[in-house]
Amino acid sequence: MIQPLHACLILSSLLFCIGLAGVLARHNTILMLIGVELMLNAANVNFIAFWRYGAWAGQSAGVMFAIFSIAVAAAEIAVGLALVILIFRHVRTTSIDRVDGMKG
């Protein structure tokens, strides 16, 4: 029988990898943002899992960190979407392939 902490850690590692693969493989900036969000939330799953099942269960620090990081992630995604709109105004697409003016 797998322990709940281990199950949570496996879940969060999977989420993190899926998010990273999304950021690396996708060409659409909105889908890349979703990837970043998945990676951040994988860490939140970790915090909650360690708070609930870990060796130091019950200390509120884990929940606090999760709440703060949700707020930070929300701010980050708001900025990200604003940047997507900024790019869209210039090149009329959300694909990152069209935004490669600088090289070298």
Binding site: S12, F16, G19, L20, V23, T29, M32, L33, V36, M39, L40, A42, A43, N44, N46, F47, A49, F50, G54, A55, W56, Q59, A61, G62, M64, F65, F68, S69, V72, A75, E76, V79, G80, A82, L83, V84, L86, I87, R89, H90, V91, I96, V99, D100, G101, M102, G104
Partner: protein
Amino acid sequence: MNYGDLLRAFSAETLLVLFAGVIAFADGWLARKGRAEQLRHQIASGLLLLACAGAGWSLVRVTPPCMLPDGMIVSTDVGIHLKGVILVLLSFTGLIAAGTVRTHHIGEFYILLILSAIGMFVMLSTENLLMAFVALELASIALYILAGFDKKDVRSAEAAMKYFLFGGVAAAFLLFGLSLVYGLTGSLDVRVVGRSLSHMPASPLLLTATVMVMAGFAFKIAAAPFHLWAPDAYEGAPVSVAAFVASASKVAGFALFVKLLTVGFPGTFLTRNGLWDAPSWMSLAVLLSVFSMIWGNVAALKQKSVKRLLAYSAVAHAGYMLIGVLAAPKLGSNALLYYAVTYALATVGAFGAVAAVEKSCGSDKLDAFAGLMRRSPFLAICMAAFILSLAGIPPLAGFFGKFYLFAAILKMDGSSLCRFWLAGLALATSCVSLYYYLQILKQVFVVEKEDADTIGLDTPLRWVLGLAAAGVLAAGLFPEALLRVL
């Protein structure tokens, strides 16, 4: 501790926030009156200077030594001095921006600069993982927006997007690593984390956490191979923003980085059988340093855009500074901080010079600097001071910075870090870097240009260049004065 003490401890940050509000109201009022943008720039940057002066005064006079529980805020003398450095860099950035940023949202620009500086302030005074993460994000998110501030230029948008995506992934890596550290130790206080990790045998979880935290930091300080955002962000962003990213965020980032690593992570992990030392953050830092020194210096050789060249040289300098991070657990971090501060001064000045040239020629390519000595002697001499300091030529500050760093790594005992190889590689790559730095100076002093028109400098920019050059020279002539306070 009561709320009055808390307010006094945060007086500098509070003053900065208050001035951000004042800038918002003043600029909004002027915009509604339909005043000229130049006037709005002057008033907003004047208020920014006033804010910096007020915050500096409160750092000196009001702030008491302060300790909050869990290491949330731990104010130290070094932290306060570095906050002063951030304030200087912030005011320089504001003055560069006053003449160069093209935007209708003038107040917002300066407000975001101030918010980013507040994030850096908290980075400098916290020893708590949660506060460190939130402060790092406060500083970074404001910088993402600032990088995209030139809405008419598609390159600015591209720079902001790349900076944002890399920064977001870095934040996720760092957060995931911190969550594992929390799971292993049950605490967010860096000192408690350090105490429990040093008694803990190396486990896969601990190594994963170390690697992820290091990867997150390497993104933030633009160490190779995680530096890919830096050249594009420096080239596309408004020059003043690039100056702030290259200088202030480097100083604050390295100060936080070295604090977390030396206090929170032991230099070597125990293994279960105790027979060998498990690799820890030190081996990773050696790898990052070697990659950055080689990659940064070699890639800078073929750059034609001076901003890109400075970006790759920033990668190389991150490599040198990582050597200082390696030496910090044994010998203290003042060699690293001296290097970071003097590097920041030289960089902010160099970007200021690029801003002046770009404003008059519309280009930051190497040949735009041709005949600069004839076109503006003051600008040319200041540029020479910055570039020679970056290259590490005595008597400028960059030379002593490199000297202290390399001496620090050689002073360390133990051969496990291949310290001789590291110091030798650093020396060799600094010689390589002379080529591209002198390439700029060749354009400035040797190459002639026929239709050379003089470059007019506006007064704020002239002050920034003069003060930064004087600072670089003074820090090189009297290095002890700066080393003593760091």
